[in-house]
Symmetry: C2
Protein backbone atom coordinates (compact mmCIF):
# COMPACT_ATOMS: atom_id res chain seq x y z
CA UNK A 1 0.00 0.00 0.00
CA UNK A 2 1.29 3.39 -1.00
CA UNK A 3 1.86 5.91 1.70
CA UNK A 4 1.36 8.90 -0.65
CA UNK A 5 -2.18 10.13 -1.25
CA UNK A 6 -3.21 12.80 -3.74
CA UNK A 7 -6.53 14.57 -3.33
CA UNK A 8 -7.61 16.13 -6.58
CA UNK A 9 -10.61 17.63 -8.33
CA UNK A 10 -12.91 15.62 -10.58
CA UNK A 11 -15.94 16.25 -12.72
CA UNK A 12 -19.26 14.39 -12.72
CA UNK A 13 -17.24 11.31 -13.59
CA UNK A 14 -14.59 10.36 -11.01
CA UNK A 15 -12.09 9.73 -13.76
CA UNK A 16 -12.43 13.19 -15.32
CA UNK A 17 -9.63 15.07 -13.59
CA UNK A 18 -9.08 18.48 -15.14
CA UNK A 19 -7.59 20.73 -12.45
CA UNK A 20 -4.28 21.91 -13.94
CA UNK A 21 -2.64 22.22 -10.54
CA UNK A 22 -3.60 18.67 -9.64
CA UNK A 23 -2.15 17.53 -12.96
CA UNK A 24 1.13 19.28 -12.20
CA UNK A 25 1.38 17.19 -9.05
CA UNK A 26 0.49 13.98 -10.92
CA UNK A 27 3.35 14.65 -13.33
CA UNK A 28 5.70 15.51 -10.50
CA UNK A 29 4.93 12.25 -8.69
CA UNK A 30 5.48 10.29 -11.93
CA UNK A 31 8.73 12.16 -12.57
CA UNK A 32 9.91 11.20 -9.10
CA UNK A 33 8.87 7.60 -9.70
CA UNK A 34 6.64 7.61 -6.63
CA UNK A 35 3.61 5.40 -6.15
CA UNK A 36 0.48 7.08 -4.89
CA UNK A 37 -3.23 6.66 -4.54
CA UNK A 38 -5.61 9.33 -5.71
CA UNK A 39 -8.84 10.53 -4.17
CA UNK A 40 -10.87 12.52 -6.67
CA UNK A 41 -13.31 14.90 -5.05
CA UNK A 42 -15.98 17.21 -6.42
CA UNK A 43 -16.30 20.85 -5.38
CA UNK A 44 -19.06 19.71 -2.99
CA UNK A 45 -16.86 17.22 -1.17
CA UNK A 46 -14.35 19.60 0.34
CA UNK A 47 -14.88 18.11 3.77
CA UNK A 48 -12.58 15.34 2.56
CA UNK A 49 -9.64 17.75 2.58
CA UNK A 50 -10.64 19.56 5.78
CA UNK A 51 -7.68 17.79 7.46
CA UNK A 52 -5.37 19.99 5.37
CA UNK A 53 -6.61 23.15 7.08
CA UNK A 54 -7.62 24.82 3.82
CA UNK A 55 -10.10 24.32 1.00
CA UNK A 56 -8.13 23.90 -2.21
CA UNK A 57 -6.85 20.89 -4.09
CA UNK A 58 -4.32 19.54 -4.75
CA UNK A 59 -3.53 18.20 -1.31
CA UNK A 60 -0.72 15.70 -0.88
CA UNK A 61 -0.54 13.46 2.13
CA UNK A 62 2.79 11.72 2.54
CA UNK A 63 2.77 9.72 5.77
CA UNK A 64 2.53 12.34 8.49
CA UNK A 65 3.10 15.25 6.11
CA UNK A 66 0.24 17.21 4.56
CA UNK A 67 1.08 19.74 1.85
CA UNK A 68 -1.29 21.83 -0.22
CA UNK A 69 -0.51 24.23 -3.10
CA UNK A 70 1.14 22.59 -6.12
CA UNK A 71 4.21 24.84 -6.00
CA UNK A 72 4.87 23.87 -2.38
CA UNK A 73 4.27 20.22 -3.24
CA UNK A 74 6.89 20.37 -6.02
CA UNK A 75 9.45 21.76 -3.62
CA UNK A 76 8.46 19.28 -0.93
CA UNK A 77 9.04 16.39 -3.34
CA UNK A 78 12.50 17.61 -4.36
CA UNK A 79 13.43 17.98 -0.71
CA UNK A 80 11.88 14.73 0.53
CA UNK A 81 13.13 12.62 -2.41
CA UNK A 82 16.48 14.11 -3.38
CA UNK A 83 17.73 10.90 -5.01
CA UNK A 84 14.91 10.82 -7.58
CA UNK A 85 15.19 13.01 -10.70
CA UNK A 86 15.00 16.68 -9.74
CA UNK A 87 11.94 18.75 -10.55
CA UNK A 88 14.03 21.92 -10.45
CA UNK A 89 17.45 20.76 -11.68
CA UNK A 90 18.59 24.36 -12.30
CA UNK A 91 16.97 26.02 -9.30
CA UNK A 92 13.52 27.59 -9.34
CA UNK A 93 14.26 31.25 -10.16
CA UNK A 94 13.51 31.11 -13.87
CA UNK A 95 10.96 28.33 -13.44
CA UNK A 96 9.08 31.00 -11.51
CA UNK A 97 9.12 33.19 -14.59
CA UNK A 98 7.74 30.29 -16.64
CA UNK A 99 5.03 29.80 -14.00
CA UNK A 100 4.10 33.48 -14.14
CA UNK A 101 3.99 33.30 -17.93
CA UNK A 102 1.59 30.35 -17.77
CA UNK A 103 -0.53 32.04 -15.11
CA UNK A 104 -0.33 35.60 -16.38
CA UNK A 105 -0.81 34.81 -20.07
CA UNK A 106 -1.92 31.27 -20.94
CA UNK A 107 -4.69 30.66 -18.44
CA UNK A 108 -6.35 33.96 -19.27
CA UNK A 109 -6.51 33.07 -22.96
CA UNK A 110 -7.77 29.54 -22.37
CA UNK A 111 -10.32 30.34 -19.66
CA UNK A 112 -13.06 31.72 -21.95
CA UNK A 113 -12.53 28.78 -24.31
CA UNK A 114 -12.98 26.11 -21.63
CA UNK A 115 -15.30 27.74 -19.10
CA UNK A 116 -18.62 26.37 -20.40
CA UNK A 117 -17.03 22.97 -21.00
CA UNK A 118 -15.97 22.86 -17.36
CA UNK A 119 -19.45 23.88 -16.29
CA UNK A 120 -20.95 21.14 -18.45
CA UNK A 121 -18.62 18.44 -17.07
CA UNK A 122 -18.77 19.07 -13.35
CA UNK A 123 -21.12 17.26 -11.01
CA UNK A 124 -24.72 18.56 -10.97
CA UNK A 125 -24.43 19.48 -7.31
CA UNK A 126 -21.33 21.61 -8.09
CA UNK A 127 -22.90 23.78 -10.75
CA UNK A 128 -24.53 26.45 -8.61
CA UNK A 129 -21.33 26.89 -6.56
CA UNK A 130 -19.18 27.02 -9.68
CA UNK A 131 -21.39 29.57 -11.43
CA UNK A 132 -21.65 31.78 -8.37
CA UNK A 133 -17.94 31.88 -7.51
CA UNK A 134 -16.75 32.30 -11.12
CA UNK A 135 -19.31 34.93 -12.02
CA UNK A 136 -18.28 36.91 -8.93
CA UNK A 137 -14.62 36.56 -9.96
CA UNK A 138 -15.19 37.53 -13.61
CA UNK A 139 -17.75 40.22 -12.89
CA UNK A 140 -20.04 38.79 -15.59
CA UNK A 141 -22.04 35.67 -16.37
CA UNK A 142 -20.27 32.51 -17.52
CA UNK A 143 -21.91 32.96 -20.91
CA UNK A 144 -20.64 36.53 -21.23
CA UNK A 145 -17.17 35.39 -20.25
CA UNK A 146 -17.29 32.55 -22.78
CA UNK A 147 -18.12 35.05 -25.52
CA UNK A 148 -14.51 36.24 -25.32
CA UNK A 149 -13.33 32.87 -26.59
CA UNK A 150 -13.27 33.87 -30.25
CA UNK A 151 -10.90 36.72 -29.44
CA UNK A 152 -8.63 34.79 -27.11
CA UNK A 153 -8.41 31.80 -29.44
CA UNK A 154 -7.16 34.15 -32.15
CA UNK A 155 -4.52 35.50 -29.73
CA UNK A 156 -3.36 32.10 -28.51
CA UNK A 157 -1.06 31.26 -31.42
CA UNK A 158 0.93 34.46 -31.03
CA UNK A 159 1.04 34.23 -27.25
CA UNK A 160 2.56 30.74 -27.48
CA UNK A 161 5.52 32.01 -29.51
CA UNK A 162 8.06 31.96 -26.63
CA UNK A 163 7.17 28.34 -25.86
CA UNK A 164 7.18 27.45 -29.56
CA UNK A 165 10.68 28.86 -30.08
CA UNK A 166 12.01 27.10 -27.02
CA UNK A 167 10.64 23.65 -27.86
CA UNK A 168 12.09 23.91 -31.34
CA UNK A 169 15.51 24.07 -29.68
CA UNK A 170 15.13 21.10 -27.38
CA UNK A 171 12.56 18.43 -26.56
CA UNK A 172 11.62 19.99 -23.22
CA UNK A 173 12.03 23.39 -21.58
CA UNK A 174 15.17 22.49 -19.68
CA UNK A 175 16.65 20.14 -22.25
CA UNK A 176 16.27 16.47 -23.15
CA UNK A 177 14.16 15.48 -20.15
CA UNK A 178 10.98 17.03 -18.76
CA UNK A 179 11.09 19.04 -15.54
CA UNK A 180 8.65 20.97 -13.38
CA UNK A 181 8.80 23.88 -15.86
CA UNK A 182 7.20 21.64 -18.50
CA UNK A 183 4.54 20.35 -16.13
CA UNK A 184 3.64 23.89 -15.11
CA UNK A 185 3.07 24.92 -18.73
CA UNK A 186 1.36 21.65 -19.60
CA UNK A 187 -1.16 22.23 -16.80
CA UNK A 188 -3.37 24.60 -18.82
CA UNK A 189 -3.37 22.16 -21.75
CA UNK A 190 -4.43 19.29 -19.49
CA UNK A 191 -7.15 21.52 -18.08
CA UNK A 192 -8.45 21.95 -21.63
CA UNK A 193 -7.95 18.29 -22.55
CA UNK A 194 -10.16 17.10 -19.70
CA UNK A 195 -13.26 18.96 -20.81
CA UNK A 196 -12.85 20.66 -24.17
CA UNK A 197 -13.10 19.45 -27.76
CA UNK A 198 -11.76 22.64 -29.35
CA UNK A 199 -8.55 22.11 -31.28
CA UNK A 200 -6.13 24.60 -29.77
CA UNK A 201 -2.95 23.73 -31.67
CA UNK A 202 -2.49 23.09 -35.37
CA UNK A 203 -0.99 19.80 -36.52
CA UNK A 204 2.33 21.36 -37.49
CA UNK A 205 2.75 23.50 -34.37
CA UNK A 206 5.93 22.56 -32.45
CA UNK A 207 3.95 23.27 -29.28
CA UNK A 208 1.61 20.44 -30.26
CA UNK A 209 4.57 18.06 -30.66
CA UNK A 210 5.93 19.13 -27.26
CA UNK A 211 2.50 18.60 -25.69
CA UNK A 212 2.31 15.15 -27.25
CA UNK A 213 5.76 14.22 -25.89
CA UNK A 214 4.51 15.11 -22.44
CA UNK A 215 1.15 13.39 -22.87
CA UNK A 216 3.06 10.24 -23.87
CA UNK A 217 5.66 10.47 -21.09
CA UNK A 218 5.41 8.34 -17.95
CA UNK A 219 3.43 5.57 -19.69
CA UNK A 220 1.04 7.96 -21.34
CA UNK A 221 0.11 9.75 -18.13
CA UNK A 222 -1.56 12.70 -19.85
CA UNK A 223 -3.92 10.43 -21.79
CA UNK A 224 -4.72 8.10 -18.90
CA UNK A 225 -7.95 9.76 -17.78
CA UNK A 226 -11.20 10.84 -19.43
CA UNK A 227 -10.66 13.65 -21.91
CA UNK A 228 -10.71 14.71 -25.52
CA UNK A 229 -8.17 14.21 -28.27
CA UNK A 230 -8.22 17.81 -29.48
CA UNK B 1 44.85 49.99 -22.95
CA UNK B 2 41.97 47.57 -22.97
CA UNK B 3 42.16 44.54 -25.17
CA UNK B 4 38.37 44.21 -25.49
CA UNK B 5 36.61 46.24 -28.17
CA UNK B 6 32.84 46.48 -28.64
CA UNK B 7 31.46 47.60 -31.98
CA UNK B 8 27.92 48.86 -31.57
CA UNK B 9 25.24 50.83 -33.35
CA UNK B 10 24.75 54.55 -32.84
CA UNK B 11 22.38 57.23 -34.05
CA UNK B 12 23.20 60.60 -35.60
CA UNK B 13 25.02 61.35 -32.34
CA UNK B 14 27.86 58.93 -31.51
CA UNK B 15 26.70 58.75 -27.92
CA UNK B 16 23.16 57.68 -28.78
CA UNK B 17 23.44 53.89 -28.59
CA UNK B 18 20.05 52.23 -28.82
CA UNK B 19 20.59 48.73 -30.25
CA UNK B 20 19.17 46.40 -27.59
CA UNK B 21 21.58 43.61 -28.49
CA UNK B 22 24.55 45.93 -28.11
CA UNK B 23 23.20 47.01 -24.75
CA UNK B 24 22.97 43.40 -23.62
CA UNK B 25 26.68 43.06 -24.30
CA UNK B 26 27.48 46.32 -22.49
CA UNK B 27 25.71 44.99 -19.41
CA UNK B 28 27.43 41.63 -19.73
CA UNK B 29 30.87 43.27 -19.87
CA UNK B 30 30.03 45.41 -16.84
CA UNK B 31 28.71 42.36 -14.98
CA UNK B 32 32.00 40.59 -15.69
CA UNK B 33 33.94 43.64 -14.51
CA UNK B 34 35.79 43.84 -17.83
CA UNK B 35 37.25 47.02 -19.29
CA UNK B 36 36.52 47.69 -22.93
CA UNK B 37 36.56 50.35 -25.55
CA UNK B 38 33.53 51.00 -27.70
CA UNK B 39 33.36 51.90 -31.38
CA UNK B 40 29.92 53.23 -32.25
CA UNK B 41 29.06 52.88 -35.92
CA UNK B 42 26.13 54.00 -38.02
CA UNK B 43 24.29 51.68 -40.41
CA UNK B 44 26.38 53.21 -43.22
CA UNK B 45 29.70 52.34 -41.62
CA UNK B 46 29.45 48.56 -41.71
CA UNK B 47 32.85 48.33 -43.37
CA UNK B 48 34.23 48.85 -39.86
CA UNK B 49 32.96 45.39 -38.86
CA UNK B 50 33.82 43.67 -42.14
CA UNK B 51 36.64 41.90 -40.26
CA UNK B 52 33.95 39.93 -38.38
CA UNK B 53 32.80 38.25 -41.59
CA UNK B 54 29.20 39.39 -41.19
CA UNK B 55 27.21 42.63 -41.13
CA UNK B 56 25.50 42.87 -37.75
CA UNK B 57 26.45 44.52 -34.49
CA UNK B 58 27.30 43.82 -31.77
CA UNK B 59 30.76 42.55 -32.56
CA UNK B 60 33.17 41.85 -29.74
CA UNK B 61 36.89 41.72 -30.34
CA UNK B 62 38.86 40.21 -27.48
CA UNK B 63 42.51 39.98 -28.45
CA UNK B 64 42.57 37.48 -31.27
CA UNK B 65 38.94 36.44 -30.80
CA UNK B 66 36.09 37.98 -32.78
CA UNK B 67 32.53 37.09 -31.76
CA UNK B 68 29.30 38.44 -33.17
CA UNK B 69 25.72 37.78 -32.02
CA UNK B 70 24.96 38.86 -28.49
CA UNK B 71 23.89 35.39 -27.35
CA UNK B 72 27.21 33.91 -28.49
CA UNK B 73 29.06 36.78 -26.86
CA UNK B 74 27.35 36.10 -23.52
CA UNK B 75 28.44 32.48 -23.65
CA UNK B 76 31.91 33.43 -24.79
CA UNK B 77 32.31 35.72 -21.78
CA UNK B 78 31.22 33.06 -19.29
CA UNK B 79 33.65 30.61 -20.85
CA UNK B 80 36.59 33.03 -21.23
CA UNK B 81 36.14 34.64 -17.80
CA UNK B 82 34.86 31.88 -15.53
CA UNK B 83 36.13 33.54 -12.36
CA UNK B 84 34.01 36.65 -12.86
CA UNK B 85 30.32 36.56 -11.83
CA UNK B 86 28.41 34.17 -14.10
CA UNK B 87 25.97 35.46 -16.70
CA UNK B 88 24.11 32.13 -16.64
CA UNK B 89 24.53 30.96 -13.04
CA UNK B 90 21.75 28.37 -13.44
CA UNK B 91 22.48 27.25 -17.00
CA UNK B 92 20.90 28.76 -20.08
CA UNK B 93 17.87 26.50 -20.68
CA UNK B 94 15.25 28.70 -19.05
CA UNK B 95 17.15 31.88 -19.91
CA UNK B 96 16.39 30.84 -23.49
CA UNK B 97 12.70 30.88 -22.64
CA UNK B 98 13.09 34.38 -21.21
CA UNK B 99 14.91 35.42 -24.40
CA UNK B 100 12.13 34.02 -26.56
CA UNK B 101 9.58 35.81 -24.45
CA UNK B 102 11.41 39.11 -24.95
CA UNK B 103 11.82 38.48 -28.65
CA UNK B 104 8.46 36.84 -29.33
CA UNK B 105 6.36 39.21 -27.25
CA UNK B 106 8.05 42.39 -26.03
CA UNK B 107 9.85 43.60 -29.13
CA UNK B 108 6.75 43.22 -31.24
CA UNK B 109 4.74 45.42 -28.90
CA UNK B 110 7.45 48.07 -28.59
CA UNK B 111 8.45 48.22 -32.25
CA UNK B 112 5.49 50.31 -33.49
CA UNK B 113 5.96 52.65 -30.53
CA UNK B 114 9.64 53.36 -31.20
CA UNK B 115 9.97 52.93 -34.97
CA UNK B 116 9.57 56.59 -35.99
CA UNK B 117 11.72 57.69 -33.05
CA UNK B 118 14.50 55.44 -34.32
CA UNK B 119 14.08 56.83 -37.81
CA UNK B 120 14.27 60.36 -36.45
CA UNK B 121 17.41 59.71 -34.42
CA UNK B 122 19.59 57.84 -36.89
CA UNK B 123 22.18 59.52 -39.08
CA UNK B 124 20.79 61.25 -42.18
CA UNK B 125 22.77 58.95 -44.47
CA UNK B 126 21.18 55.89 -42.75
CA UNK B 127 17.57 56.90 -43.29
CA UNK B 128 16.98 55.56 -46.80
CA UNK B 129 18.56 52.19 -45.89
CA UNK B 130 16.58 51.96 -42.67
CA UNK B 131 13.29 52.81 -44.34
CA UNK B 132 13.85 50.40 -47.21
CA UNK B 133 14.90 47.38 -45.12
CA UNK B 134 12.24 47.86 -42.44
CA UNK B 135 9.42 48.52 -44.87
CA UNK B 136 10.35 45.34 -46.72
CA UNK B 137 10.36 43.43 -43.41
CA UNK B 138 7.06 44.86 -42.18
CA UNK B 139 5.33 44.78 -45.56
CA UNK B 140 4.12 48.36 -45.04
CA UNK B 141 5.46 51.88 -44.65
CA UNK B 142 7.09 52.95 -41.40
CA UNK B 143 4.18 55.30 -40.87
CA UNK B 144 1.63 52.51 -41.32
CA UNK B 145 3.59 50.33 -38.94
CA UNK B 146 3.77 53.15 -36.37
CA UNK B 147 -0.02 53.46 -36.52
CA UNK B 148 -0.22 50.19 -34.58
CA UNK B 149 1.39 51.87 -31.57
CA UNK B 150 -1.86 52.83 -29.91
CA UNK B 151 -2.97 49.19 -29.93
CA UNK B 152 0.34 47.71 -28.80
CA UNK B 153 0.80 50.29 -26.05
CA UNK B 154 -2.58 49.24 -24.66
CA UNK B 155 -1.45 45.58 -24.73
CA UNK B 156 1.93 46.19 -23.14
CA UNK B 157 0.78 46.34 -19.52
CA UNK B 158 -0.89 42.94 -19.70
CA UNK B 159 1.95 41.38 -21.65
CA UNK B 160 4.42 42.42 -18.94
CA UNK B 161 2.51 40.50 -16.28
CA UNK B 162 4.93 37.51 -16.08
CA UNK B 163 7.87 39.88 -15.58
CA UNK B 164 5.89 41.97 -13.11
CA UNK B 165 5.02 38.97 -10.96
CA UNK B 166 8.60 37.73 -10.98
CA UNK B 167 10.21 41.03 -9.97
CA UNK B 168 7.76 41.36 -7.11
CA UNK B 169 9.29 38.17 -5.71
CA UNK B 170 12.94 39.15 -5.98
CA UNK B 171 15.01 42.12 -7.10
CA UNK B 172 16.14 40.44 -10.32
CA UNK B 173 14.98 37.50 -12.42
CA UNK B 174 17.39 35.01 -10.88
CA UNK B 175 17.43 36.43 -7.37
CA UNK B 176 19.29 39.19 -5.56
CA UNK B 177 21.81 39.95 -8.31
CA UNK B 178 21.27 40.67 -12.00
CA UNK B 179 22.16 38.04 -14.61
CA UNK B 180 21.99 37.69 -18.38
CA UNK B 181 18.25 36.99 -18.15
CA UNK B 182 17.72 40.52 -16.81
CA UNK B 183 19.92 42.10 -19.47
CA UNK B 184 18.05 40.26 -22.21
CA UNK B 185 14.71 41.62 -21.02
CA UNK B 186 16.13 45.07 -20.30
CA UNK B 187 17.36 45.28 -23.93
CA UNK B 188 13.99 46.33 -25.36
CA UNK B 189 13.62 48.98 -22.66
CA UNK B 190 17.07 50.40 -23.43
CA UNK B 191 16.14 50.39 -27.11
CA UNK B 192 13.17 52.59 -26.22
CA UNK B 193 15.12 54.75 -23.78
CA UNK B 194 17.64 55.74 -26.42
CA UNK B 195 15.14 57.30 -28.78
CA UNK B 196 11.66 57.48 -27.34
CA UNK B 197 9.94 59.91 -24.97
CA UNK B 198 6.79 57.83 -24.52
CA UNK B 199 6.23 56.75 -20.92
CA UNK B 200 5.90 52.96 -21.14
CA UNK B 201 5.61 52.08 -17.44
CA UNK B 202 3.51 53.73 -14.77
CA UNK B 203 5.19 55.07 -11.66
CA UNK B 204 3.87 52.30 -9.44
CA UNK B 205 4.64 49.41 -11.81
CA UNK B 206 7.07 46.91 -10.25
CA UNK B 207 8.54 46.52 -13.75
CA UNK B 208 9.51 50.18 -13.61
CA UNK B 209 11.28 49.68 -10.28
CA UNK B 210 13.13 46.64 -11.69
CA UNK B 211 14.13 48.66 -14.77
CA UNK B 212 15.42 51.43 -12.54
CA UNK B 213 17.48 49.00 -10.47
CA UNK B 214 19.13 47.85 -13.67
CA UNK B 215 19.58 51.37 -15.06
CA UNK B 216 21.31 52.27 -11.80
CA UNK B 217 23.47 49.15 -11.63
CA UNK B 218 27.15 49.19 -12.67
CA UNK B 219 27.58 52.89 -11.85
CA UNK B 220 24.41 53.90 -13.65
CA UNK B 221 25.28 52.13 -16.89
CA UNK B 222 21.80 52.36 -18.37
CA UNK B 223 21.69 56.12 -17.95
CA UNK B 224 25.25 56.79 -19.14
CA UNK B 225 24.43 57.59 -22.78
CA UNK B 226 22.05 59.94 -24.60
CA UNK B 227 18.45 59.01 -24.05
CA UNK B 228 15.16 59.99 -22.49
CA UNK B 229 13.92 59.71 -18.94
CA UNK B 230 10.56 58.19 -19.82
Amino acid sequence: MSKIELFELCGAERDRVFSPYCWIVRYALAHKGLDYTTTPITFSEKEKIAFSGQKLVPVLKDGEQTISDSWDILHYLDKAYPDAPALFPNGDALARFVKHWAEGTLYGLLAPIVIMDIYNHIAPEDKAYFRQTREARFGMTLEEFAAKAETTKAQLGGALEPLRRRVKESAFLEGDAPTAADFIVLGPFLWARGVCEVKLLSDDDPVRAWRQRLFDAYQGLGLSTLGYAA
